[in-house]
């Protein structure tokens, strides 16, 4: 302390002595330089955000057939292809907030005393979409009506293969648009809340060539497995099951006798086989 000059700073005085204010100015200049550098480094080194969309506050009305299993979908007929095969789009239905649509549908079925599977409906809500997957946050069912088009839907779901799938468990509502990022560690507890609230879980996988695929995950019998999966939300897991196409969605029916497991850290091609 002896080496210092006799200068002394008193905050309530008008100005600081020269030597002291020079030192403090040095600090201020340093902060001046550090602030933009740190701000830029932090801003520019994120992995980026997907181009997903949530039309928050915008209402769209869509009509089609309601599908209740393996998850609530709105099935919209889009025409026939050159082979006269029917083309449908499937829109996964959820409620506002962190809630699935299943409960509302089963309550409605109880009141009406009949199944709503295949029932023609008009729905109002906000669309959520990303990478060709579309969902609707349903505000209300504006009408329940008889099928007047004569195209009664309910195609048999087409099996396209079974095997071992590795990927991250995510909630599709956030993944496909409501949040960015809607996956990974920071999103983990939100995803768990969504899935606990009845939104059907999705397995997000990456193929070797970098393409992403999304599988809606259900039990072998098509029932929801939301509760079993809660501890694994946001984790990378191994699932054994059979994939069926439900319109333009892939649905993974997890084999009942194969448990879900955390994906081993050093995993490449050699996987615990399902069969």
């Amino acid at each position: 302390m002896e080496k210092q000059t006799d200068e002394f700073y008193i905050g309530w005085q008008e100005a600081a002595p020269d030597g002291i204010s020079r030192r403090v100015r040095m600090f201020i200049v340093a902060v001046c330089v550090i602030v933009p550098i740190i701000g830029a480094l932090l801003a520019l080194n994120q992995r980026g955000f997907v181009s997903s969309n949530f039309e928050f506050g915008e209402t769209t009305e869509l009509e089609g057939a309601l599908i209740t299993t393996p998850a609530p979908f709105l099935e919209i007929y889009r025409g026939n292809d050159v082979n006269d095969k029917l083309i449908f789009q499937h829109i996964l239905l959820v409620k506002p907030g962190k809630h699935g649509m299943g409960e509302e549908i089963s309550d409605l079925e109880k009141n009406l005393k009949h199944s709503l599977d295949g029932q023609f409906v008009k729905l109002q809500g906000s669309l959520i979409y990303h990478d060709g997957k579309t969902m609707m946050e349903v505000e209300k069912i504006t009408s329940l009506m008889l099928d007047t088009t004569g195209i009664h839907v309910m195609l048999p779901f087409k099996p396209i293969g079974s095997g071992t799938f590795v990927g991250e468990i995510a909630d599709p509502k956030c993944l496909f648009g409501v949040m960015k990022p809607g996956y990974g560690k920071p999103h983990r507890s939100c995803g768990a809340r969504c899935i606990a609230g009845g939104i059907p879980p999705v397995l997000k996988t990456i193929s070797d060539n970098g393409n992403l695929e999304y599988y809606l995950l259900v039990n072998e019998d098509g029932s929801p497995l939301n509760d079993q999966i809660l501890p694994y939300v946001g984790d990378q897991v191994v699932v054994c099951g059979e994939v069926k196409m439900v319109g333009d969605w892939m649905v993974l029916y997890k084999f009942a006798d194969k448990n879900l497991a955390l994906a081993p850290e050093t995993m490449r091609k050699e996987l615990p086989l399902c069969k």
Partner: protein, 145 residues
């Protein structure tokens, strides 16, 4: 500061100087690796053998294929980017500004991968490929085939 507080300061920071680097290393060690999935079932039909034409844009690469024996045509679409609209149908239309209603519906597109859509036999060879969104009524892309 009282000498005791100073002493606590010293102890706390010696402790943290040990703890924080350990925490840093431990956290780096547990960062999950992104794992690829061994199974990705492909539900697309086989590619027809002969390539007739190829066209591409920022969004996609389109290849017109043909089976010379039967004359069947097939449009192969490789999506290069994730689609950013709620619904995507693929049509063949006769001229660039034609309405999708006048065109031939081939199918729909979803996640980023390769699609093979049957295009039938009777093609003029002058068709345009149209990606159309029936929800927003938006022409997403038009491509001369």
């Amino acid at each position: 500061m009282t000498p005791n507080l100073r002493k606590y300061h010293r102890r706390i920071w010696f402790f943290l100087a040990g703890l924080l680097p350990i925490l840093l290393v431990a956290a780096i060690a547990v960062i999950p690796a992104e794992r690829t999935s061994p199974s990705t079932p492909d539900n697309q039909p086989e590619a027809l053998p002969k390539v007739v034409k190829t066209a591409s844009s920022d969004l996609l690469v389109a290849t017109l294929r043909q089976d010379s024996a039967t004359g069947e045509r097939q449009v192969e679409i490789e999506l290069k980017q994730a689609l950013t609209n709620p619904s995507t149908l693929v049509y063949l239309i006769a001229d660039e500004n034609a309405d999708p209603a006048t065109g031939k519906l081939l199918g729909s597109l979803s996640s980023r991968k390769i699609y093979r859509l049957d295009a039938g036999k009777n093609l003029s060879g002058q068709e345009y490929l149209l990606l159309f969104d029936p929800i927003t009524h938006l022409k997403i892309a038009t491509l001369k085939l």
